[in-house]
């Protein structure tokens, strides 16, 4: 992606962001609240138009071919994008049908995903009754219906308890191992450290550092990404969530 910029009401949120994400890798966009992470993901997922700049996503130009981009990505937003009133299975079948799987295939795929994401037991309960971790898993399962080559995860573990968090991390690792490119945003340093091949630190709408976790640590001559982050974002570091 090149020179992505976006302003809301005259206030710049992203200022000319350039990034390259290697296929098959896990890429973490790390930054405090308000850094512009969600805006960047929404632009890349075609939900918001950039004021300037563009990106090539799986060979599709974001500006020229948004429909092509939509076919090759999947987005799991910050808030679980599932239907509360429907059951987990109904959600999966509905989304699979909307991805134009024939009815029978949609049912079969829903069954596979419910098993894969450990939701078998709750498959026919309404999502309203699910815990935060179960919703996240269902959300991930929905994102994986068509096995898209690129998956966006916007703050995948915000608000989850430690056990659910570990579980979600496990699924993300499995997805990456199966060849899916994952671009995730997070405000948690440990999450970026453990999951990502490459981390980019977004601060005030700019990428202020980029590299593997090891490179970033070497750069700050420290074992801890906390120090890297403090060095990069200075006084705003108090906006960061403490490492849990």
């Amino acid at each position: 992606m090149r020179g992505i910029a976006k302003a809301f009401g005259g206030k710049p949120v992203l200022e000319s962001v350039d990034l390259a994400v290697e296929a098959g890798s896990v890429f973490a966009l790390l930054g405090p609240n308000g850094a512009g992470k969600t805006t960047l993901v929404r632009i890349l997922a075609t939900l918001t138009k950039a004021d300037a700049g563009t990106a090539i996503i799986n060979g599709h130009d974001l500006r020229a071919d948004p429909a092509g981009v939509r076919r090759s990505i999947s987005l799991t937003g910050q808030y679980a994008a599932v239907d509360d009133v429907l059951t987990g299975r109904e959600n999966l079948v509905m989304m699979a049908r909307l991805q134009h799987l024939p009815r029978r295939d949609a049912r079969r795929r829903a069954g596979e995903l419910l098993a894969a994401f450990d939701l078998d037991g709750a498959a026919d309960r309404r999502v309203k009754t699910y815990s935060g971790g179960m919703r996240r898993r269902l959300d991930l399962a929905v994102s994986m219906i068509t096995r898209p080559p690129l998956l966006f995860l916007d703050e995948p573990t915000t608000g989850l308890d430690p056990r659910s968090r570990q579980q979600v991390w496990g699924f993300v690792r499995d997805l990456a191992a199966s060849g899916v490119t994952v671009l995730l945003t997070t405000q948690y340093l440990d999450e970026a450290d453990r999951l990502a091949d490459v981390i980019a630190v977004l601060h005030h709408g700019r990428i202020v550092a980029q590299g593997t976790p090891a490179e970033l640590k070497a750069q700050a001559a420290s074992d801890s990404l906390d120090d890297v982050f403090l060095a990069l974002t200075g006084s705003d570091a108090d906006q960061m969530e403490p490492v849990r």
Partner: protein
């Protein structure tokens, strides 16, 4: 995108909204009880005092109650759309390769189904308590076409409103506005019986020609004495205008609204 895919999208979205309607038993029950309760209330409580048409009040009030219930149904639709917009699910739909209009179409179809059910209840109860329309089969077909057009227009209006307001609570308050308007029409009492200041409003607001068209078709004469055709043209024009404006506003807002 092929037509078959678009049809699937519409199908799935309609199924989703119908399911959502059926899974909210309290709201569904209210929506079905309302027409019955209102019918009994108007005919047996107020009806004695308001034998305005010079006969059974039930013979006067049926079109008004249909419109009143459609107003209530529109409120439900506005809330459903606003609820969708305030949850993450619309973002998901919009990031998928599906036709954007199918999301709204699902709500409109469910709204149409709910409202027609309520209308059928109004008509059924009315016939049960002595409503005797004089119109023939053609008049019935025309009256039902009028109802469908009106419900379609008010459903799209509700969908547009649901998209424009800040959230489900705000959408809910719209219900009261829409339910209040029929009282300021010829729905329940003739315009001539109102205060001088209200008369022109009641005689000319959009609900009135819709109500008078149904009344004229079913009972053989309108309350105002104008020919049915006159009211029908006005009603179709009003509904068409509302439909056009609402579809445009809703489609534009749906495409451009940046959620959150």
């Amino acid at each position: 995108m092929s037509t078959a895919y678009a049809l699937t999208d519409y199908n799935v979205m309609i199924g989703r909204c119908v399911r959502r309607s059926l899974r909210d038993p309290e709201a569904f029950f209210t929506a079905l009880m309302l027409p019955i309760i209102l019918m009994l209330l108007f005919v047996y409580v107020f009806g004695g005092a308001m034998s305005a048409a010079g006969g059974q009040y039930v013979n006067y009030v049926v079109p008004g109650l249909i419109v009143l219930c459609a107003g209530f149904g529109a409120g439900t639709t506005a809330v459903a759309v606003a609820t969708d917009m305030s949850s993450g699910i619309v973002d998901r739909f919009r990031s998928m390769p599906i036709s954007g209009s199918s999301v709204l179409a699902g709500h409109i179809a469910a709204s149409l189904a709910r409202n027609l059910l309520a209308t059928a209840l109004v008509i059924g109860v009315a016939l049960g308590i002595g409503w005797r329309p004089s119109g023939g089969p053609l008049a019935w077909v025309a009256a039902i076409a009028m109802i469908v057009l009106f419900i379609l227009a008010i459903s799209w209006l509700a969908a547009a409103a649901g998209l424009l307001v800040s959230g489900p609570e705000a959408a809910n308050s719209l219900t009261f506005v829409i339910m209040f308007l029929p009282y300021l029409s010829t729905a329940f009492v003739p315009a001539a019986t109102m205060t001088r200041a209200l008369r022109p409003i009641a005689a000319n607001q959009p609900f009135t020609p819709v109500i008078e068209t149904m009344r004229g078709l079913w009972m053989g004469h309108t309350e105002t004495g104008a020919p049915v055709g006159h009211d029908a043209i006005l009603a179709v024009a009003y509904c068409g205008a509302i439909l056009l404006a609402s579809v445009t506003a809703a489609s534009f807002t749906f495409r451009h609204r940046v959620a959150r």
